[in-house]
């Protein structure tokens, strides 16, 4: 009843894309004694490294007299970041809406499709191989085309790009989670004469949650990237992608960098949001368990 689906390797690949920089978030246990100490131990090294890199960057760009169009000084970027804040954050907001819209659409379709693979074996056998193949393609390359599926001036065109990018990893990973269930747990539910719906609810869905969130974390970053790349290929001017493009064309590189900084902050915030939701959704999970020494 539970054929191992052939997606495993692909999704492992996918998971390996996951960045490790937020590992500290998952190791920290709220309410544990010595919380401040744990935080310092978890984030201290990263924070220190960040400061050192920025300082080196500033010092070297000054010392070596590097041209601004090659690499602006952090202080210049910060200056543009502050003075242009209303503009770039406004652009950032519109880009974020595109990314979120595409994320929600793509993610919803992906989950619906993953459930359909449980319900109808034909979908699993017929479509999953194509989904896996599609997932190995650089879907971002579709951006100039998908950008025209809808009116290019409408945010929907960017959402279309993002939703295609988000769809495949989320669908494949969720499907995998719904099927890679401990056979013993299936036997247990069978011994209780549980219906397929109860098996889904009590075993498959909880089992799929870690897979699902792991894909969402990848997709959150991808969705911001997707939205910005889609913006490069045309559309309204008041978004991050067009802003970066225009400023770079005008040799206003610190402006472009300040916008990139906004994009990064949005990407990180989105990722962290998902990590937080993940914690709420599955407090039982291995990655959140207490470990020796935090």
């Amino acid at each position: 009843m539970t054929p191992r689906d052939p997606t495993e390797r692909d999704v492992e690949l996918l998971e390996s894309h996951e960045t490790d920089i937020f590992a500290g978030f998952e190791g920290d246990i709220p309410g544990e004694p010595g919380r401040l100490e744990t935080w310092i131990r978890a984030y201290g090294p990263a924070a220190a490294a960040f400061v050192v890199v920025l300082a080196l960057w500033e010092i070297l760009t000054r010392a070596l007299d590097i041209e601004t169009f090659l690499l602006p000084k952090p202080s210049e970027i910060l200056d543009r970041f502050i003075t242009n804040a209303p503009i770039i954050w406004g652009h950032g907001f519109r880009t974020l809406v595109e990314a979120l819209g595409g994320f929600v659409i793509g993610g919803t379709l992906a989950v619906a499709m993953a459930f359909a693979t449980v319900r109808w074996a034909a979908i699993r056998e017929g479509l999953l191989p194509f989904a896996i193949a599609a997932n190995t393609m650089p879907i971002i390359a579709l951006a100039p085309i998908a950008n025209n599926w809808f009116n290019v001036t409408s945010p929907l065109s960017k959402m279309a790009v993002v939703s295609v990018i988000v769809f495949f990893p989320v669908m494949i990973n969720t499907t995998r989670g719904l099927f890679e269930v401990d056979p013993g747990e299936l036997d247990l539910l069978r011994s209780m004469a549980a219906t397929p719906r109860e098996v889904l609810r009590h075993v498959r869905i909880p089992n799929a949650l870690p897979y699902f969130f792991s894909a969402l974390k990848v997709a959150s970053t991808l969705s911001i990237i997707g939205a910005i790349v889609a913006e490069y290929f045309g559309g309204p001017q008041d978004v991050l992608g067009q802003y970066i493009l225009n400023r770079a064309n005008l040799f206003q590189f610190p402006d472009a960098w300040a916008a990139i900084l906004v994009a990064s902050i949005l990407g990180i915030a989105f990722y962290v949001l998902i990590v937080l939701v993940e914690r709420l959704a599955m407090p039982w999970h291995v990655s959140l368990r207490a470990t020796e020494g935090g």
């Binding site: 747990e185 069978r190 011994s191 009590h202």
Partner: protein, 277 residues
């Protein structure tokens, strides 16, 4: 306490109508033609209502397989099985049995309490009733204070006790237990054996119990079924006429030692092949 007093005439019913498990010529072959394992061959066994049957035999002789066949988690390749007077499938659908697997098989996302409640939840038992029964069962396996923990916060032996509480919680007519006490320390093990006997005495439960421990099999059972491997079959069935209730004194009685020796010799005969039919 003198052996013979207080003894209960349990099980050993002769009529098929009174049988909870009937196996006739049951065989099980795993795998394909090229790569086949004959796990069981020609199993004939009748277990009467109220009996406590232990299955004992070397690793790989098909004890778990037999339990899973009774539970309709596997289909026999040969022969016929009747469980609680019905085909095994119907017995499973009627939730006639509770099973404790060789692995605890607890759901990580549920607390200990919620794990014990799972069968009750699936059977549609009301919330208060579920909570009350879970409480009772957890007290029984001495894990009341761990009700709100998650399974991964417990030791292997504690997890196995949760699995036992879960199987007992809905008071099945038949209890299938696959080495349930394997992961327990000696003291807890004896305690759990005593508790299991008490439950078995108080309810009308029939127990099929897999174990590797000869003393455990003798102490608990009304009959010990000795199995031998390759292919798995029954090499001896030994009656255990020790009086009930059984307690520490039982463990020190001469009859007890005699029976242990008897089972041990049956096991040895099975392994050297003398017992083959």
């Amino acid at each position: 306490m003198v052996a013979g007093t207080n003894s209960r005439e349990r099980g050993r019913g002769d009529g098929v109508s009174d049988a909870v498990v009937v196996a006739r010529g049951v065989g099980k072959v795993f795998g394909t033609d090229t790569d086949r394992v004959e796990a069981l061959r020609g199993i004939d066994l009748q277990i009467a209502r109220g009996e406590f049957i232990s299955l004992i035999g070397p690793s790989g002789c098909g004890k778990s397989t037999l339990l899973r066949l009774i539970g309709d988690l596997l289909q026999p390749s040969a022969g016929e099985l009747v469980v609680n007077g019905k085909p095994p499938r119907q017995a499973r659908l009627d939730r006639d049995y509770g099973i404790v697997f060789q692995q605890p098989t607890l759901l990580d996302w549920r607390t200990v309490r919620a794990n014990v409640e799972l069968p009750l939840e699936i059977m549609g038992v009301a919330r208060e009733e579920r909570a009350a029964r879970a409480e009772e069962m957890l007290a029984l396996v001495q894990l009341a204070e761990f009700a709100d923990h998650h399974p991964w916060q417990l030791s292997g032996g504690m997890q196995q006790r949760v699995a036992i509480a879960r199987a007992l919680g809905f008071r099945p007519a038949l209890l299938l237990m696959d080495e349930p006490f394997g992961a327990l320390d000696e003291m807890t093990r004896e305690l759990m054996q005593q508790e299991l006997l008490r439950i078995w005495t108080e309810t009308e439960t029939t127990v099929v119990f897999v174990t590797h421990s000869i003393p455990e099999a003798v102490f608990l059972s009304t009959r010990v079924v000795v199995m031998s491997p390759r292919p798995g079959r029954i090499s001896a069935v030994i009656d255990v006429p020790l009086a009930h209730p059984r307690d520490v004194e039982t463990r020190e009685s001469d009859d007890y030692y005699r029976l242990i020796t008897e089972v041990r010799e049956a096991l040895r005969r099975g392994e050297t092949g003398e017992g083959r039919r």
